[in-house]
Amino acid sequence: MTFDINVILDQLPAITSGAGVTILIWIVGTIAAAILGFFVAVGRRFGGAMLNKALFLIVAVLRGTPFLIQIFLVYYGGPFIGLSLDPLPAGLIGISIYGAAYYSEIFRSGFMAVPKGHIEAGECVGLTQGQIIRRILLPEMTMLVLPPSLNMAVLLMKETAVLSIITVPELTATLSAIGAQQYAFVEALSVLALFYWVLVEITGRLGRLVETKLTRFRFFNA
């Protein structure tokens, strides 16, 4: 048995398509998760005790169960409640909801980390509640949550591989199939691992770039 990478590279069009689906799911899913998570966090902070409790419960369940099981439930369980979805939309919805649970926690901790005094300073110069949220709370929170948000994006990217289980034609599904057809599992999985790693590295570098730009905003003198 020899390690022959050409077996894989011959299938470049299929691989490119798979990579495209992975990147699409990742980017759309992450953005949807972040937006949904933001509204959950806002609901928990400003929506009263009842809403806070209800959302807390949902987030706890989503964070406390494996993504694999959640995605099975969306895809195979959906038809029981009249929700028959194709693999791709099912996968997108699954990853958005799963990610939203984590993003809501990131944003919630961001809200809590804004010093109370900064809000009080806003009150003292006459800003209304709405102005304080828009001009102080949200910008400061955004700075605080950027590093953990990018980290979460990286984690979500790796979770997209799970969607191969429900036959979403993303990169893991594509390369697994090629590996099986050509009997070249090691080659296929190596290319797969390399692809994810490169994508993670690029994201990480972008993240560090953003963080460097933000250091002048850091809260206290070192």
């Binding site: 010093p115 900064h118 009080e120 003292c124 110069v125 006459g126 002048r216 905003f217 003198n221």
Partner: protein, 263 residues
């Protein structure tokens, strides 16, 4: 006798079971510097924060230039919250300076000072920044206008915070331990700005451990202990011949450090 800038009547503040302020009565005279001194936990900061409406008094009233802050009495004699907009109008007479500066880290010095002018007073960016710049000149920081808070020293941050409050042309300035998180050198530059302000006749209420400042700039000194005002009077009376045992004990530590020389 003119109307006091702030009149506190029978003020009580409790946090749960703990009474932090008990039946406080004090008048802050117009155009004078009043200093609240006392040991940690005596309630002096809480009293100041009540004047800024950052804490709501449990009972009693605070009147700012004749207007009652925060609450009104209804026909049944019950206390009712007044509308936020009306309360903001009363609070607009007051400027507040915090121990932790509380500058907004995502705005430059100029941005911090001009923010409320733009957002609250709807001034154009140009006019707001012009007025903000004039305030920064006043605290000696025109060269730091484009700096973010993290790029400024503690003393500079506090001077920006003072400029931010002054830009709104308040009638009364409240200072909550403005130099307590600064080293002695930086403390000096902040106290100088405050001295200038006092010389201009600004009504000031200062919570501070800077007994030297209180002795030289203060015109009324109130000594608090365990949530009560133990003694009020001009600095000569307070520092030269303290007639109160607790006050004497409190001042001993400071007078040892040379504050008596200033009198």
């Amino acid at each position: 006798m003119s109307l006091p800038a702030i009149a506190v009547r029978n003020l009580v503040k409790t946090f749960g079971d703990t009474t932090v302020l008990q039946n406080i009565d004090i008048e802050i005279p117009q155009g004078q510097v009043s200093c609240l001194i006392g040991p940690s936990g005596s309630g002096k900061s809480t009293l100041l924060r009540c004047m800024a409406f950052l804490e709501e008094a449990t009972s009693g009233t605070i009147t700012v230039n004749g207007e009652v802050l925060g609450f009104t009495e209804n026909a049944q004699g019950m206390r009712e919250r007044i509308a936020p907009a009306a309360n903001r109008a009363i609070r607009a007479q007051i400027g507040m300076v915090f121990q932790q500066f509380n500058l907004w880290p995502h705005m430059t010095a100029l941005g911090n000072v001009s923010e409320a002018l733009k957002t609250v007073h709807k001034m154009s960016r140009k006019d707001a920044e012009e007025r903000a710049m004039a305030q920064l000149v006043k605290v000696g920081l025109e060269s730091r206008a484009g700096h973010y808070p993290s790029q400024l020293s503690g003393g500079q941050q506090q001077r920006v915070a003072i400029a931010r409050a002054l830009a709104l042309k308040p009638k009364i300035m409240l200072f909550d331990e403005p130099t307590s998180s600064l080293d002695p050198e930086l403390t000096g530059e902040v106290l100088n700005v405050m001295r200038d302000l006092a010389a201009e006749g600004m009504t000031m209420v200062v919570v501070s451990h800077e007994i030297g400042f209180a002795a030289t700039v203060g015109q009324q000194i109130a000594f608090l202990d365990h949530g009560r005002i133990v003694f009020t009077g001009p600095p000569q009376e307070v520092f030269r011949k303290p007639r109160n045992a607790r006050l004497e004990q409190f001042l001993d530590t400071y007078l040892d450090r040379g504050a008596s020389m200033l009198l």
